[in-house]
């Protein structure tokens, strides 16, 4: 969006005016650095960067200041293998010059430092302009000011380390009670991120995100064999209260038992089975076979050199025309969902969080977009605004299109996994995330799980091992013939999802219900020579 000198002055004045008086959403954010730079210091630095970028020739610029606090605790058996706490503070400035982007970042958080980063961003944009075909056009957005914070009861970073270690070691101890279980690993990954975004459109927002990711796995040793089991402990955009609700010490023995049971599980016979996917497994299949192919940058080839392109392209042949699945299949993009990892109030371009249907009654409906991308398909969708999917994983990374929470909405009939099993004659139930791999256009995939159960005549008859299901995305989703109802909905997710060059990591959740897929190809992964 080109702006002239008058717009620049207006934008700067708007930023200065709101620096001390923001609308607050949720609780005000306490600074998390023990000696925090105050809001006004951060706002001043952001403003300084915007001024410097515009003075150097940027038609649009945004400045993003990030303050990250990360904590990792890891254990094995009765030992703590790592306790790490890290903080990172810096600014990233993105500048648009004649329709080309430049980005520069620095941890030198002085007026001079941020000013130089801004000038550097403009210099990079000018260099990029020499290799340009189509100038960037940004979708409109209303300037916004405010703060938002992940609603939590207890900040996980502030929970004493003893409490964290005690919880994990208690879980390990419980797991080690199980015969044949010799090894246990457990851990916690915790994040508190405070992010301030200022744009030359006049937006100035500060948001604080809290995310928690627990881990647990047990390994059982048999005669010349070993089997591991990872419990699917979903990471969430939640506080410590979520970790406590998982009751790891109380459940660990049950989880570890599954590792031991796997030692005597029957190796699967290859063939076609009705596949019943528990939400603990299905969320990742949704992520890979629906989440990624409906990213508009992938569809347009922007990821061709790395993550790949998409079979959902070109847009004019797919929007409203492509049948992904049956009528009862609805897939929602959502950055507002409670406890989800990609929940936000505004994205990294100041676009308000959005909720929309990516697949509507089985038909492909719309892509995930940013401000730059919205105009590429607005004539096809009628949607002029961005869906708010711009995100950067650090102050040192440039924002680009990242996945919102992408979820399968529950069916009308309120049934659960047991009801689906009861209705299945020859099938396999798959639980938890195992191995996953999908091609660079998101057609051919092969996914595994942690535990597998054989279903015969509507009943679970025993445990299987070495199971993976392999299919082609459109065939797979069109074979879905039963889904669970609201009571069986569960929110899974990934703390880190890689995309882009340089690679960035995004946190994203996927909600879903159990579902059945007819006659899916099952392969055996247990080859020995």
């Amino acid at each position: 969006m080109p702006t002239n000198r008058r717009d620049f002055v207006k934008a700067s004045a708007a930023i200065a005016a709101v620096a001390g008086a923001r609308a607050a959403f949720g609780q005000p954010a306490p600074g998390f650095l023990p000696n925090p730079p105050s809001d006004s210091v951060v706002d001043d630095l952001a403003l300084e960067a915007l001024n410097a970028a515009q003075a150097a020739g940027a038609s649009y610029a945004d400045a993003r200041i990030g303050r990250y606090r990360r904590q990792f605790v890891s254990t094995r058996e009765r030992n703590v293998t790592g306790v790490n706490d890290s903080e990172s503070y810096g600014i990233g400035v993105r500048a648009l010059v004649k329709g080309s982007w430049g980005f520069a970042s620095t941890s030198t958080m002085t007026k001079e430092g941020v000013g130089r980063a801004a000038q550097e961003a403009v210099r990079l944009a000018k260099a990029a302009n020499a290799v340009q075909r189509r100038p960037v056009v940004l979708a409109p957005v209303s300037p916004v000011k405010g703060t938002w914070r992940t609603p939590i009861k207890r900040d996980p970073i502030d929970v004493p380390i003893e409490e964290k270690v005690a919880l994990l070691l208690a879980a390990n101890e419980a797991a080690l009670k199980v015969g044949k279980v010799r090894f246990v690993n457990s851990g916690l990954q915790l994040l508190r991120e405070e992010k301030t975004l200022a744009t030359t459109d006049g937006t100035l927002v500060t948001q604080t995100y809290v995310r928690v990711g627990p881990q647990f796995s047990a390994t059982a040793i048999g005669d010349g064999d070993f089997q591991s089991y990872n419990e699917e402990l979903a990471p969430r955009g939640s506080g410590w209260e979520y970790i406590e609700s998982l009751n790891m010490p109380g459940n660990a023995e049950k989880w570890a038992t599954l590792a031991a049971e796997k030692l005597s599980a029957k190796s699967v016979e290859v063939g076609r089975y009705d596949l019943i996917l528990d939400p603990t497994n299905l969320w990742l299949t949704i992520h890979e076979s629906i989440g990624h192919p409906t990213e508009l940058d992938r569809a347009m080839g922007y990821e061709a050199n790395y993550a790949g392109t998409s079979f959902v392209a070109p847009p004019e042949k797919y929007i409203g025309k492509f049948r992904y699945g049956k009528d009862f299949m609805n897939i929602q993009g959502d950055r507002t969902q409670e406890d989800s990892l990609s929940r936000t109030m505004w994205d990294d371009e100041g676009v308000p969080a959005d909720k929309w249907l990516i697949i509507k009654k089985g038909m492909f409906n719309d892509y995930q977009t940013t401000r730059e991308q919205a105009s590429w398909i607005s004539s096809l969708t009628g949607v002029k605004k961005s869906h708010g999917c711009s995100f950067a994983d650090s102050w040192s990374s440039v924002q680009f299109q990242r996945m919102p929470n992408v979820s399968l909405l529950p069916g009308d009939k309120d049934i659960g996994l047991d009801d689906i099993v009861a209705a299945t004659d020859k099938g396999i139930v798959v639980k938890n995330r195992g191995s996953w791999s999908i091609d660079h256009q998101r057609f051919n995939f092969q996914f595994s799980g942690q535990v597998f159960y054989e279903v015969k005549g509507g009943k679970i008859t025993g445990m299987l091992k070495d199971v993976a299901y392999q299919s082609r995305t459109p065939d797979f989703w069109n074979s879905m013939d039963m889904i669970g109802g609201p009571k069986s909905y569960w929110l899974g997710g990934s703390f880190g999802d890689g995309k882009g060059e340089p690679s960035q990591s995004n946190s994203v959740s996927h909600g879903c219900v159990p579902a059945r897929f007819k006659e899916v190809n099952i392969v055996n992964t247990g080859r020995t020579a």
């Binding site: 790490n84 990079l124 990029a128 340089p502």
Partner: protein, 466 residues
Amino acid sequence: MRPRSLFSSTASAENLLSAEQAKALATRILGMAKADETRVVIDSGWTGNTRFAGGEITTSGESNDVSVSIVSTIGKRRASSSTNVLEDASLRRTVDLAERLAKLSPEDPEIMPELGSQSYAPVRSFIDATANLGAETRAAAAKRVIERAGETGHAAGDVFVAGYLEANAGTRALANNKGLFAYHRSTDANLSTTVRTPDGTGSGWASAGARNWSAIDPAALGARAAQKAVASRNPTAIEPGMYTVVLEPQAVADLVPILGGAFNARSADEGRSPFSKRGGGTKVGEKIADERVTIYSDPTDAELLASPFDQEGLPIQRRVWIENGVLKNLTYSRYWAQKQGAQPTGGGGGFGGGGFPGGLKMMGGTKSLDELIAGTQRGILVTHFFYIRSLDQRTVMLTGLTRDGTFLIENGKITKSLKNFRWNESPLFMLNKIEEIGKAEPTSAGQVMPAIRAKDFNFTSLSDAV
């Protein structure tokens, strides 16, 4: 001294810390420490990148940062913290935090004391041409790739050219209060490009990586990717199954380094590794691969030039992992080495790490890729692999896909473009089914891999992806 004042501009490799500057900063931090043992790790780095797609630059960025990690040990308790805010108050707070976390942590019975002063082999892996690769030079390189790909791919129409160029320059210093000081600086650059034909049926890829930017030829990469794109149009589907494969060096580089995880000595001793022996012990000394297979790490090797120390400051020595097909060494953390009476290999202790320390080289033969193809009766040529994931740790069984140029070889010649495959295969099995090893070449900074012809590679299903 305030190191931040050393930085005269925000985005150039001149911002890297020298050994003297790093030492002064480390001394200042160690002066704040009260723990029994304190280790300071100081990283300074610059990165410059340019990304392109659709024949134009889509994003370009530069970043620099200096971060400090503190590892504090009190008795048998240890913890770490890090910051990139280098003011005294912040550094003091970070030291205090590591010490507080250490006090709160339970005793670690496996803790190893910090190392004293060490000596390291000199490794010259910092090249100014890479460290000074500015935005304008990167844009010009992207333009050369795009133009040459466009010319080469002209027969197929207006080809779609995407790619990525990244240059890095970094330093790492490590110091502790027992007299250890280590410093290493290095650069690397990588340029890759994917060219797609406008009909959507052809895709080609080429890549090069080196410590020295001057070793990378952007136009040649553009030409190679475009040739592959044009040649791979309208692929034919053939039945999945066991086929002889000719793997280009990058395809080998996609598989062989994954073995690093399996080389962990402790896992092998604990009975949860492909190198565990039934009934106890490990397979060290046993033949595990074709006798032509030799794989080693050596930070001083002129083609590897890797860091001569690990995150604990342990010197990294040359280690031969597989020699003439025989398993020679496993990777030992300092703790496990002491327990088992072995030599620590580095990369295995403290926080994170693992895999092969000191770069990785698989010894090559004398034949070129073309000669490997010419010697193939019937087989499949693989450019590179994608989305590789573990299926079974017991055998290092993996799954993945071919990508960007998969061709049928018949009677020594490439005869057809093939649809991509999914495969389920183990690099350990593959190294036992070798027919021929071609010349080795650098695949990225710190890595050298040969082309390989191997039989019975297990392709399990077809992929429609182009």
